[in-house]
């Protein structure tokens, strides 16, 4: 069990990847926040992660990108991450040959988003890009909270989600053909504290089950009674993550929020967050 406090939670779901250069689908402050430098090399996933971390203010009101170095932990949970940049590097090499710019490569690793997030916010603590399939939101949250619990960082930045390249959509359909691939990334600040506790559960069914399941629900005390679970049909874990963390913000003392994820291979993971004390921080999600 981990103790922690939850800061602001945000979601960026600007629209289909192939319209990411269309001002109509982008947040109005998109270019103001992340700039345009390097846009020919960095992909939509990296840009979305940067928009979230640079645009978000933490509980103290401090804005990122101030050049200050911290020991913050950065955990990115994603299934397809920087696939678009990887594919673009390969295509550009075929097209441009020896004229290919060396600037493509740093933007086209499987953890480029993490690299540029750490670089831009000056986070020198633990950092990792995690893919646990459908269970990614729970595993990523576990690792982020573990870093706080072990005293490795006072602040964790959790990013969960995907901005799908066409190849990623095709890949996702191999095992969840009915699940829509909607672009979006959720971001949350996690702090050391004792307002909330998180208990995790991991396991696997004896047999695979078709499709994926992610649900979010609220319970009162130890009772299973509470509101009916809200199910999320998307392949992308960003939306369930955002809804779950929003729900955590609304909890009264002893109330619980539960996120459960079940994958087509039968593996499942869940996290139950209980509010211990009244929230001293702004509960609003942004």
């Amino acid at each position: 069990m981990f103790e922690f406090s939850l800061g602001p939670v945000t979601l960026c779901a600007p629209g289909p990847t192939n319209r990411m250069d269309d001002p109509e689908v982008l947040p109005p402050d998109w270019h103001e926040v992340i700039g345009t430098a390097g846009d020919q090399f960095r992909d939509a996933f990296t840009r979305t992660c940067l928009y979230l971390v640079l645009g978000a203010a933490d509980a103290s009101g401090a804005r990122a990108d101030g050049g200050t170095r911290t020991d913050d932990t950065v955990v990115i949970g994603t299934e397809y991450g920087n696939t678009a940049a990887l594919a673009r590097l390969q295509r550009q090499a075929a097209e441009k040959g020896k004229l290919l710019s060396a600037q493509y490569f740093p933007n086209a690793t499987s953890s480029s988003a993490s690299a540029f997030v750490n670089l831009r916010v000056g986070a020198t603590g633990r950092n990792m890009t995690i893919n646990a399939g459908v269970l990614t939101p729970v595993v990523a949250l576990w690792q982020a909270l573990s870093a706080l619990d072990r005293g490795r960082s006072d602040v964790g930045r959790l990013l969960v989600g995907d901005v799908y390249a066409p190849e990623a959509v095709a890949d996702a359909r191999l095992d969840t053909s009915d699940a829509p691939c909607r672009d979006g990334v959720a971001h949350a600040f996690l702090h050391t504290g004792a307002e909330l506790t998180a208990e995790f559960d991991f396991g696997a069914a004896d047999a695979p089950q078709p499709g994926l399941t992610r649900t979010v629900r609220k319970t009162a005390g130890r009772s299973a009674d509470g509101a009916a679970p809200v199910a999320f049909a998307e392949r992308n874990g960003a939306f369930a993550t955002r809804a779950f963390l929003d729900l955590v913000h609304t909890l009264e003392p002893t109330e619980r929020a539960v996120l459960e994820c079940r994958a087509p291979d039968g593996r499942h993971a869940g996290v139950t967050v209980t509010r211990q004390h009244a929230n001293s921080t702004d509960r609003r999600s942004l």
Partner: protein
């Protein structure tokens, strides 16, 4: 810093590399300083011929293919083939059987930078339909290892460029110390990746001369492929009479937050300090360091400088001179080598000319170095994006 209560040990090893399938040929090549680099075919117009790389030989692939399960045999992807073979070897080495009780709730955590590279690359190039490839989601690597070993606990893949395997070890260690499970199957894998070769070529970081870590004449990284996996077990999960290779004291993970590709001395030094702090040791306690030692100007200048200044007592070796740079699996190869060094009390050499060594570095060259009192071994892995991860192992005998 709260490290958690459980002591964690490495009880089994497995590896597939350019040396072949298994820990024995790997150790033989390391101790002999024998490399098996081959010339890589140019991948695009303008890429020069003659660039050297390490490839897993066909004989080793055939051995691996004969051992993995039907799902992987039907549509083999290199990363899965390598990781599942190495995991099975590690299980046998630990005296465990796939699906056994000890593995029922086991954590599976695999580090990889390029994942199922050839599947994505074939789709992008229009060579194969995605349904034929089996898919390129990196999670499928961890999923396949979990299926192979019969583990129902958390299974996930870590991507932190060339530090991936050490980060995976760190994440699994956290889970065992937190009580999520008592056993983990962990390591790293990376296949040959066109994208990676193209990228390194644009940086002019690969070439026709093999990597020569810590030498004055060093110039190139030699890309390679393979997988290293190991079994981690808490003290209470150890079989009676078991003799683990090592106790894992620490795996520190940090980021330079400085530059997308170039390492930062302060950031690398900070990771060294964190690993020592986490292990409860001083630099003088470290007997042997398996360096990241890529043979690049930037990495070796920073890493070698730190060794010379902060670790004057430690013997240093860089196995990439022999097996090449296994990318996301580099830390796993280093960890396997570190465990074998602890078992044999022997440090394999860096395959370079001793007269060419730069800095006042205690670099092991020529014959393997016998260290009868070997106690603490450090294993470094760093990567693009400022990723740093350092493990420290302790002898259990």
């Amino acid at each position: 810093m709260n490290q958690g209560a459980a002591r964690v040990f490495i009880t089994g090893l497995g590896i597939i590399s350019p040396a072949g399938a298994g820990a024995d040929p790997f150790w033989d090549d390391l101790c002999a300083g024998r490399s098996r680099f081959v010339e890589l075919s140019p991948l695009y117009v303008g890429m020069k011929p003659g660039i050297l790389g390490g490839r897993v030989p066909q004989e080793a692939r055939d051995i691996a293919l004969a051992q993995v399960d039907a799902v992987t045999r039907e549509r083999p992807r290199d990363a899965s083939l390598f990781a599942e073979y190495a995991a099975l070897e590690a299980l046998r080495d630990a005296g465990l059987a796939p699906g056994g009780q000890a593995l029922r709730d086991a954590v599976v955590c695999v580090g990889s930078s390029d994942g199922q590279a050839e599947a994505l690359e074939d789709v992008v190039a229009g060579r194969r339909d995605i349904s034929v490839t089996g898919g390129f989601s990196s999670y499928s690597i961890a999923q396949g290892v979990a299926r192979t070993v019969g583990a129902a606990g958390p299974a996930y893949l870590l991507q932190s460029t060339c530090a991936s395997a050490n980060v995976a070890l760190s994440c699994a260690l956290e889970m065992l110390r937190a009580g999520v499970a008592d056993t983990a199957v962990v390591g790293g894998c990376d296949p040959y990746s066109e994208k990676n070769i193209i990228g390194f070529n644009t940086l002019q970081a690969i070439g026709p001369v093999p990597c020569k870590p810590f030498t004055r004449s060093r110039r190139y990284v030699t890309p390679s492929e393979g997988a290293g996996m190991f079994v981690l077990q808490t003290e209470r999960a150890l079989r009676p009479g078991a003799t683990p290779y090592a106790e894992v004291l620490a795996t520190a993970v940090s980021n330079d937050a400085s530059h997308p590709t170039a390492p930062d001395r302060d950031g690398v030094a900070a990771c060294h300090r964190r690993s020592l702090e986490e292990a409860g040791l001083k630099a003088d306690d470290i007997d042997v360091i398996f360096a990241h030692g890529t043979g690049s100007r930037a990495n070796d200048t920073i890493e070698g400088g730190l060794f010379a200044e902060e670790y004057p007592r430690a013997a240093v070796t860089a196995i990439k001179s022999t097996i090449g740079h296994l990318m996301g699996a580099a830390g796993a190869a280093g960890a396997v080598a570190a465990c074998l060094a602890l078992r044999h009390r022997l440090v394999p050499p860096t395959a370079v000319d001793p007269d060419d060594v730069e800095l006042d570095l205690n670099l092991v060259t020529g014959a393997p170095l016998a260290v009868p009192d070997l106690r603490h071994v450090q294993n470094n892995a760093f990567g693009f994006g400022g990723n740093n991860a350092i493990s420290i192992f302790r002898s259990v005998s």
